[in-house]
């Protein structure tokens, strides 16, 4: 087992390669992954004045002149806006900010990069968005309200886990329909096959909210292929029926908020 940790995209990115060693392919694989993540940051960060996203937002660059993968991500944002009833909106604050999907998409793509190089088993965790494959993985979901507490553990051999929450960076997810911060839910975790969609759906569900997150809950219950787990602002917990398949250690159902 070899594990790497670097700071990239303003957060911590940890890569675990269970079948590699620090003396073999590990360093080269890690270098490729972090090189990709740093490139994504330089191209997509809305905080870097020269990034293509900043130039697009400020009108200094036309979509047609962007890199092909940037155009692909912009198309993905549009697809996600439609899939989420407008709750995933890269233009929610009136300015272009695709952060709600770029992190998940870039980690998913890094996983494809590893698979292309014949790496079956890996886990990559960038700021709490996790893509893990190739062996039995256990991923803790933290309680946004209580000290160091892991609420439940998600297990699987090939899965994506994304959490969107107000504790990450303050109340930073806006309801695009009201323009106000979404406050009903403290955190939403999505589990499924692709981190691209898990990340975007978690952002959308947090924005949906509703009393105790009921609007998000209804939407997640009908969402094919993905399971949801949420902690409300008042400390309640709920999950969708599909979630139990990933989390055998779930607390008894009567704890559900």
């Amino acid at each position: 087992v070899v594990r790497y940790v670097e700071t990239v995209m303003g957060t911590t990115a940890g890569l675990t390669l269970p079948d590699e060693t620090g003396d073999g392919r590990g360093p080269g694989l890690a270098a490729a992954v972090y090189r990709w993540l740093r490139r994504v940051d330089s191209v997509y960060s809305p905080f870097l004045p020269g990034s293509q996203i900043s130039l697009l937002r400020d009108g200094g660059l036309r979509p047609a002149d962007c890199d092909p993968d940037v155009r692909g991500v912009l198309a993905l944002c549009e697809e996600l806006r439609e899939r989420t009833g407008g709750y995933f909106d890269a233009w929610a604050g009136g300015v272009l900010d695709p952060c709600g999907v770029v992190k998940g998409w870039s980690v998913e793509t890094a996983g494809e990069l590893l698979a292309d190089r014949g790496v079956a088993a890996y886990s990559l965790n960038v700021g709490g968005d996790v893509r893990a494959a190739g062996r039995d993985w256990r991923i803790g979901i933290t309680d946004p309200h209580r000290s160091g507490r892991v609420l439940t553990v998600v297990t699987g051999t090939d899965l994506a886990v994304a959490t969107s929450g107000v504790t990450e960076r303050g109340a930073h997810v806006l309801d695009p329909h009201t323009g106000r911060p979404a406050t009903a839910l403290a955190a939403v975790t999505l589990v499924g096959p692709s981190l691209t969609y898990a990340d975007a759906y978690a952002t959308a569900a947090l924005a949906m909210g509703g009393p105790m997150g009921c609007q998000a809950r209804r939407w997640l219950c009908d969402l094919p292929g993905y399971a949801g787990f949420a902690v409300t602002a008042t400390g309640g917990v709920w999950w969708t029926p599909a979630f139990r398949a990933y989390a055998p250690d779930l607390p008894p159902p009567e704890r559900a908020g």
């Binding site: 087992v1 070899v2 594990r3 790497y4 940790v5 670097e6 700071t7 303003g10 957060t11 911590t12 940890g14 675990t16 060693t21 620090g22 003396d23 073999g24 590990g26 360093p27 080269g28 890690a30 270098a31 972090y34 090189r35 886990s123 965790n125 700021g127 709490g128 968005d129 996790v130 893990a132 993985w137 256990r138 991923i139 803790g140 979901i141 933290t142 309680d143 946004p144 309200h145 209580r146 000290s147 160091g148 892991v150 553990v153 998600v154 886990v161 994304a162 959490t163 929450g165 504790t167 990450e168 960076r169 303050g170 955190a187 975790t189």
Partner: protein, 144 residues
């Protein structure tokens, strides 16, 4: 650039933890990382072997909410404990953040004792500062 490489080797005696290394650009590096720190041959000292314990304090790393600083303890070259010396607590917001982040990351650093969880979903500002302070402590431990 900050870089922590923890090479974990499960043996009969447990965990061998290689301390971190720094490199200006990992993309330019083709050689394997220098395995510099842990006395691997003495992972299982005999009953009469002397125990060497030392603590190293990391530098203070800034967050939007205040500084984070950690102290590490190494026994026979192995990381055995991480203590938080400083964390932002002057505002309710940052208390909430630290309540979550620090104990989780402490267990991250001491993965040998929390092997039932491979990763944690849910990150914070302080996680980055924690890693930076931990990195500096590991660097000092290696060089000192």
């Amino acid at each position: 650039m900050l870089k922590v490489a923890l090479a974990l080797a499960a043996t009969a005696t447990g965990l061998v933890l290689l301390l971190s290394y720094k490199t200006p650009d990992p993309t330019a590096r083709s050689a394997p990382p220098p395995a510099v720190a842990a006395p691997r041959q003495s992972a299982s000292p005999g009953p009469t072997a002397a125990t060497s314990s030392r603590t190293v304090t990391g530098s203070s790393a800034g967050t939007p909410f205040g500084p984070v600083q950690v102290r590490i303890t190494l026994v026979n070259g192995k990381l055995t404990d991480v203590t938080t010396l400083q964390h932002p607590d002057d505002r309710r917001r940052s208390v909430e953040i630290n309540d979550e982040a620090l104990p989780i990351l402490r267990s991250e650093a001491l993965k040998a004792q929390s092997s039932r969880i491979d990763e944690v979903s849910g990150a914070t500002w302080t996680s980055d500062a924690y890693i930076r302070s931990l990195q500096s402590a590991l660097d000092k431990a290696r060089g000192g």
